[in-house]
């Protein structure tokens, strides 16, 4: 057994939900981490979940999954090799246990035996290999292709599967918990990506993309202390008001996201419980550090001081969140820089930096759409108000939601973005801040920062590591291109008849999207 921090990689950068986030850093390897329950769960009932996202153009192909609907479907129908527990630790699922070589470049997973699919098919090691291979190769159209790219070889040995990686990666078990990588039944070495079969807690009765799905409990499910509902129903309700109406009128038991504008009113509704889970999800306003005027850090600083973070948290998040400090590390995380001065709205300092930049006023466009994050456009409007006081004329350009990620994000110099956050500092930084990283949305390249990133990844000494991450947050905050005003909690609501464990997972909405498996009716 080797002691090292484990990383997980919901590395896909899209849809409403991105990234996994573990509250803590260190956790234990191996088959451990029992689930705790607040009260003794009881079986029965039909769970009706209303979801804000989900499109008629969704697909069964795991490689294409991107939104709440498909991902919740994935976790309700399937199992994965590993699972992230509510406390953020990594625990076994279909992989009974795993063993890494000392250089962490070779991983041996022992596959649980006797696991039965809905179709009756019994899980084999070949299924595992086939399921992963589906995402590999240069003809792969899977969004998870980059994630599995480092796997150079998979060898089956009885119920063991031996993975060989291009380079050592201590976080491989986390990688395998990615929602793109469910284990599906294979026939002669290949899976049918369009299959409706799975070995998860519930089997699909009926599924219509963009509309909803119904499930019934999988009697042969191998977990005894899970999946308490007899049946599960997923319903897509795009319109916030309609969603809340459905909950209030008792037509659904759970809505995965509440309209923050009116959540305070929703809270008063009888029999309704608002559930807010603080995670590392944060909203940002990235600036292209190569493009004028943002190439000048003074301008960036001016913009950072011209925004009223608290107002945004109060208005846009209606208080369901925390102010951000222009770096992506959440206060709950291990190496969160507690000494870093919190930036606050300060027009004078903004003016000072403008002066440093040699201008007395500034005109910039910011391109926003609510696709970037809920309330992005409103946030822009509020920002432009406060910025005006600092002599910055910020012009909010509303872009169509449709096509935002391909036409605006990382295309225009000043726009909006959001991140589910990453469980570890390294993964977060290397995904979106490292020089040349595919999703370095600010096109930021800071020599010192990049050195530290590499050093920290290899460093095993906790204190040194802390210092490095503190400095990196400092640099990111004072010189980075990302303006990160707020960390947003996941805010959903459910009927008071619905029960859940003491700790609700914060790596995803819907209790890590395992609500169907983990929750129950009182």
């Amino acid at each position: 057994m080797m002691k090292t921090s484990l990383l997980s990689g919901g590395v896909s950068r899209r849809g409403v939900l991105k990234g996994a986030s573990a509250i803590g850093g260190a956790a234990l390897i191996g088959p451990m981490g029992a689930r705790m329950a607040s009260a003794q769960p009881t079986r029965g009932g039909t769970l009706r979940v209303a979801q804000a996202h989900g499109s008629t153009t969704d697909s069964m192909d795991p490689g294409s999954w991107e939104n709440d609907f498909t991902i919740l479907q994935a976790h309700t129908r399937n199992n994965y090799l590993t699972e992230i527990a509510p406390d953020g630790s990594i625990v076994p699922e279909l992989a009974e246990s795993w063993e890494a070589s000392s250089d962490a470049a070779t991983w041996t997973l022992t596959i649980r035996s006797g696991v039965q699919f809905h179709s009756g098919h019994i899980l084999t090691a070949e299924d595992v290999v086939a399921s992963l291979r589906h995402h590999m190769g240069e003809d792969s159209t899977s969004a998870a292709a980059p994630i599995v790219a480092p796997i150079t070889d998979m060898r089956v040995d009885g119920m063991n599967v031996v993975f060989t990686l291009a380079s050592g990666n201590a976080d491989f078990p986390f990688v395998l918990s990615d929602y793109h990588l469910p284990i599906l039944p294979s026939t002669d070495g290949a899976i049918d990506p369009m299959t409706m079969d799975g070995c998860g807690p519930y089997k699909i009765e009926e599924l219509e993309f963009g509309v909803g799905a119904t499930y019934s409990r999988h009697d042969g499910y191998w977990k005894s202390d899970a999946a308490y509902f007899d049946a599960v129903e997923q319903i897509v309700i795009h319109d916030a008001a309609a969603r809340q109406n459905a909950l209030i009128s008792g037509e659904v038991d759970y809505i995965d996201s509440a309209d923050l504008n009116t959540v305070h009113l929703l809270q008063r509704a009888p029999g309704v419980v608002v559930l807010s889970v603080a995670g590392n999800q944060h909203y940002g306003l990235p600036m292209d550090t190569r493009a004028a005027p943002f190439s000048d850090n003074n301008i960036r600083m001016a913009l950072k001081y011209a925004i009223d973070r608290q107002q945004l948290v109060d208005t846009i998040l209606n208080g369901y969140g925390a102010v951000g400090n222009d770096h992506p590390i959440g206060s709950g995380q291990l190496y969160y820089n507690t000494e870093l001065e919190q930036k606050a709205y300060d027009p004078d300092r903004a003016r000072y930096y403008l002066a440093q930049a040699g201008v007395d006023s500034l005109d910039v466009d910011i391109h926003l759409a609510d696709a970037a994050f809920a309330g992005a456009v409103d946030a822009g409007v509020l920002y432009s108000e406060t910025a005006a006081a600092a002599g910055i004329n910020l012009n909010v350009v509303r872009e169509p939601n449709d096509g935002y990620w391909s036409n605006v994000w990382m295309q225009l110099p000043f726009c909006g973005t959001y991140w589910g956050g990453r469980p570890t500092q390294d993964l977060m930084f290397s995904t979106a801040y490292a020089d040349g990283a595919p999703w370095n949305e600010t096109y930021w390249s800071h020599e010192r920062f990049n050195e530290l990133l590499l050093a920290a990844r290899a460093e095993l000494n906790e204190d040194l590591r802390r210092d490095m991450y503190f400095e990196m947050q400092q640099i990111c905050s004072d010189e980075g291109g990302a303006l990160i005003p707020m960390f947003a909690a996941y805010v959903g609501a459910h009927s008071d008849a619905l029960m859940h464990g003491e700790q609700v997972a914060s790596n995803w909405r819907n209790d890590g999207h395992r609500i169907a498996e983990r929750w129950w009716f009182a």
Partner: protein, 318 residues
């Protein structure tokens, strides 16, 4: 009668031409939209390799005209192709939703048309009375509220906790007719409120237009009761414009209700169209657009035929 048949034939031919041009327009527009299917499909996860792979796989790398012609030849052989995103046959994808859309449209029409005709006739009968002005005003009010807003108000009043109607019209499996009528009552009512005013005003106007004509005076001089004068003498001659407006509104009920679908979580074509446009899922977009266009064309044709039939001068030539 023969001339009517020839007219129908001619109009159908024109209709086909219209459909063809519509498909061209939609195709062009969708091409003009920023980003293509591959990019939209992978969204933020897009890497050059995967995008390229998808384009290769779906032949999106072929030039525009080749793809259009391919699609067209397919359609001419009755094959609308598969959805790019979930590979299901477009026909299968559309059929159920088309059913829903038609159901809702007919439901709403079944309430709205008789209602507006009745109101229109009464308004014409008691013209300039309080009833006339009031029904007119309230009709105008109802159309000047945004659809989704009307919907919210209805939901607030008639649904809500312990309300008498469900706020969600969606149903899975195959429920009984009564069940469907019950679940889709609110959306139908919303649409009714939206379309009634237009038809009612037209009915009223069309009838009042004729009241000055000699044959109406003749009817009154024959001692006919006012109601009979309106219904028996004015209405038959006012049918043409009324039918026309009804057709337009029916077309709207089929093609224009995406907002209502969203609010009431009703799986209709509108939502499908919007989603497919967002995903640049060309075959689906095209198919739905064609259905909408066809509905419009056919309804107008029907309207004109009925209008012709309602006019003896055009049916029985000398």
């Amino acid at each position: 009668m023969s001339h009517i048949w020839s007219m129908i034939a001619k109009r159908l031919a024109l209709g086909l031409l219209t459909l063809f041009i519509v498909s061209l327009l939609i195709f062009g527009a969708t091409e003009l939209l920023p980003g293509d299917f591959a990019e939209e499909f992978l969204g933020q996860a897009a890497t050059p390799e995967t995008v390229a792979a998808i384009r290769r796989e779906l032949g999106l790398d072929l030039p525009m005209h080749t793809r259009y012609i391919e699609w067209l030849t397919g359609v001419l052989q009755g094959d609308f192709g598969n959805s790019l995103s979930n590979r299901r046959p477009v026909i299968e994808l559309i059929s159920t939703r088309l059913g829903n859309t038609l159901f809702l449209a007919l439901y709403a029409a079944a309430i709205a048309v008789p209602l507006s005709l009745m109101l229109g006739i009464l308004a014409a009968l008691f013209r300039n009375s309080f009833f006339d002005r009031f029904s007119n005003a309230s009709a105008l009010t109802s159309i000047s509220f945004p659809e989704f807003f009307v919907a919210y108000i209805l939901i607030f009043w008639l649904a809500g906790r312990g309300g008498m109607f469900p706020s969600m019209a969606s149903f899975r499996g195959d429920p009984s007719m009564a069940e469907m009528l019950y679940r889709t009552f609110l959306p139908a009512l919303t649409l009714t409120l939206v379309v009634t005013a237009h038809m009612m005003r037209m009915t009223r106007a069309a009838i009042i237009n004729l009241l000055a004509s000699p044959y109406i005076e003749m009817a009154r001089l024959k001692g006919m009761k006012p109601m009979r004068v309106i219904v028996k003498h004015a209405l038959p001659n006012a049918l043409a414009p009324i039918i026309n407006v009804i057709a337009l509104n029916l077309a709207y009920l089929i093609t224009g209700v995406v907002v209502v679908e969203v609010v009431f979580v009703f799986p209709g074509l509108g939502q499908l169209m919007v989603d497919s446009v967002a995903a640049r899922d060309m075959p689906v977009v095209q198919a739905v657009a064609l259905i909408f266009a066809a509905a419009y064309v056919l309804l107008n044709l029907t309207a004109d035929v009925l209008a012709t039939l309602s006019n003896p001068r055009l049916v029985h030539r000398r």
